[in-house]
Amino acid sequence: MYELRKVDKKFPGVHALKAVDFKVNRGEIVGLVGENGAGKSTLMKVIYGAYQPDGGTITIDGTAVRFQNPRQAMEHGIGMVFQEQSLITNLTVMENIFLGYEAQFVKFGVIDWKAMAEAARRQLAKVKLDINPATITSELSFAQRQLIELAKVLTLEERIDGDLVILLDEPTSVLAKEEVELLFKLVRELTNRASFIFVSHRMDEVLDLSDRIYVMKDGEVVDVVDHDAAEVDAIQHKMVGRDVDKEYYREQKQQPYGDEVLVSFDTVSAGNRYKDISFDLHRGEVLCLVGTEGSGREAILRTIFGLQTPTSGQVTIKGQPISSFNARASVDLGVGYVPRERKVEGIVAGMNVYENMTLSQMQNYSNAGVLRTGEEKSLARTWIERLAIKTPNENKDCGGLSGGNQQKVVLAKWRSGGSDIILLDHPTRGLDIGAKEDVYEMIRAMCDDGAGIILVADTLEEAIGLSHTILVVKDGEFQKRFDGRPGDKPSLYDLVHHMI
């Protein structure tokens, strides 16, 4: 009944969806799996109306539709249960359920709260949640809020004529095992009311719940598997696709790393972010943290950069035990951080190339607070040439550069200041292939210069191809360590096995 045909979506530099065919039948639960960046979220956004496709058609029961926004999609029966919940926590449960649709309870300009509570109770009954609709949402557990989210989407049932399609985006990521089972039982029962699209990193859950599974990779649907024919191994191979290309990741340039330890973690924990993590990072080493979203990888990076204070254990940087964690101290010890959100934490849009490059080291380019702009500019020119940054000159606003070139500016910022502990969080996210290769080239060059690199890679292939050492973390705990000598690298399957 709900069908996408040859749907295409392009962003500058990225072909996010390539002629995707996707179909949901009445009462069906459809699974959607793929690595980060495979196009799952883009596809979901197209389905619930947040993005408009560049090509292809969307039909509901054979009628072509086009949504300008999520509200229009909702009016056609497409509901979304968000991973990061969309409930407003300072409102009551019933206000949340009917947010934007209060008009049905208004009499003479006043809301009839009793009627709303009554209606809310009916919705809560659908998801078997027995709570007072006047409860403030923030008092509820996460699992309960998830159900309210679902109940909110189910109000569509009364409002529209056609069938419902409900998207569940990683609904189990923060639920306990029993809660997951309850949710699945509920979803199965609700298939008489709606169809579901279920997106999750947890392969076993997808296999368990879904009638059919779509496997995505690089913006394409590479396979559609029926529940009965589905096997974890086969799907995982489809997800990660081709074998790791040695040339692509500059494997021949991988040198053995040195003896000097740059960063050392000794059974370090940070609240519920990660527990008892130990490792050493050496000069010339690329150490990759592998795990799913929220497995604690980023929190470990943030600790080294002084942004997340650990609760126990000892962090040592260049032989110095760290007692107070702040970014300035880390920068002074030679730590450089290349964050995932380039626009938020990477470059200051509005400031030009040389201003961005010297941002972390202005003290080296100033006398008593007065900047030696000439020196800044010549530094910028050196690095523009060295990293082949595509910009007309060093005075250009960084916000106007392409993603790959912005990333080079960020790397130049740290490298030019002599940082030799480089933390890379998804350094190639959103870059096209050429720009990715430039980043790989830079990583090898930094290792040759004696820097140590901690990488959270965008894909597993990247992790395997680039690393000397791979640490797999899951739910904040260390799982397994792999050595990644050239010619003796772990396979994708080895890693995935320990991640999920």
Partner: protein
């Protein structure tokens, strides 16, 4: 992006949205300067008097330009101070109180130390600037250390300042009649009084701070991305503290020029500076969410506001209409200069 650029006509490529936004304030200023004489001309034609457009204009004359300069100079100093704060993405509403306190303390010290610049009384000038710095510093401390939003912290500090000024003066006016100090107004070079040149000199200092010092760079970094500034190892709290302190110094300079202009220091010396300075900064094109703009924008903004004020007097609009016009102007400036599709946090 590259495709659309290639297809555009040369004119469209030249007149990009960014360029238009960047130069719009100057364009507006130019239009206003030509518009008021036109109103005058219409008025005189209707009254049956012979009048050549621009040449016979009372508005478009050196004498009136000097008048605008006198009105604009103190406001420019206050607006330049608050420009730094707005570039950081914060706001400072303490200017009225700070100006009053600085003016009153200056006058008291000046008179107590013999009342002429040709004695130790000149020390009252740096003293007033120190008082401004201290007020700004406290303002910054309250904002940064007590983690109170800057608009609230500074508004409260402003009231403290006004109250303090009233306490000191008991509501009285203090006259500063030293002819040398008053030469700020009375001495003219090339038809413009000294205070206009003083204001311009401080504008150049502000420009130097903005463009050539680490502090200025830090203001833009904090305003452009506080997270990033922090992640680059900048001490964001310290930058904010110094920003508010610097703003306090410029408020003090504004206070000195205001006293020089009318020869009186009182609690009311600070009146009206808040609205005029914030209006000027915004109209000049400095973005309220930080990171964009600068002191030259503020100069244009102050001139726009002053020209409108002056022009309305010249063409004889009632005084109370002027505030309404300025209010509408602020809204227009924000509407025109903001790409509101990209700003989702309108609160």
């Amino acid at each position: 992006m590259a495709d659309t650029m290639a297809n555009a006509t040369p004119a469209a490529r030249f007149l990009t949205r960014d360029r238009i936004i960047k130069w719009a304030p100057l364009l507006v200023l130019g239009v206003l300067i030509l518009l008021f004489p036109f109103f005058e001309w219409l008025e005189d034609i209707r009254a049956g008097e012979a009048h050549a457009y621009l040449i016979d204009s009372r508005f478009f004359s050196i004498r009136n330009a000097a008048r605008i300069g006198i009105a604009a100079a103190p406001a420019l100093m206050v607006a330049v101070g608050v420009t730094f704060i707005i570039i950081m993405g914060s706001i400072d509403l303490s200017m009225e109180g700070t100006v009053s306190v600085c003016a009153v303390i200056f006058a008291f010290a000046f008179l107590a130390w013999s009342g002429t610049v040709l004695s130790w009384a000149w020390l009252a000038i740096p003293a007033a600037m120190l008082v401004g710095a201290a007020m700004g510093f406290i303002n910054g401390l309250v904002h940064v250390k007590l983690k109170i939003p800057s608009f609230m912290a500074s508004l409260a500090m402003g009231f403290v300042g006004t109250g303090l000024a009233l306490l000191l003066t008991g509501g009285d006016r203090t006259r500063v009649e030293d002819p040398i100090f008053r030469s700020l107004l009375t001495e003219r070079w090339l038809n413009f009084p000294v205070m206009v040149y003083v204001a311009f000199a401080f504008l150049l200092i502000a420009w130097f701070i903005q463009s050539r010092t680490t502090l200025g760079r830090n203001f833009y970094a904090v305003g452009g991305g506080e997270e990033l500034a922090h992640a680059s190892g900048l001490n964001v709290e310290r930058v904010r503290l110094m920003g508010f302190t610097l703003a306090g110094v410029f408020f003090a300079v504004g206070a000195l020029l205001a006293v020089g202009r009318i020869g009186i220091a009182e609690t009311a010396t600070g009146n009206n500076f808040m609205f005029v300075s914030i209006t000027a900064v915004v109209v000049g094109g400095t973005a309220l969410w930080g990171g964009i703009g600068g002191v030259w924008n503020t100069l244009v903004g102050v001139l726009i506001v002053s020209v409108i004020n002056n022009g309305m007097v010249v063409i004889g609009l009632p005084a109370y209409v002027q505030d309404a016009v300025l209010g509408i102007l602020v809204i227009l400036a924000v509407v025109l200069s903001t790409d509101r599709r990209s700003v989702s946090f309108v609160k």
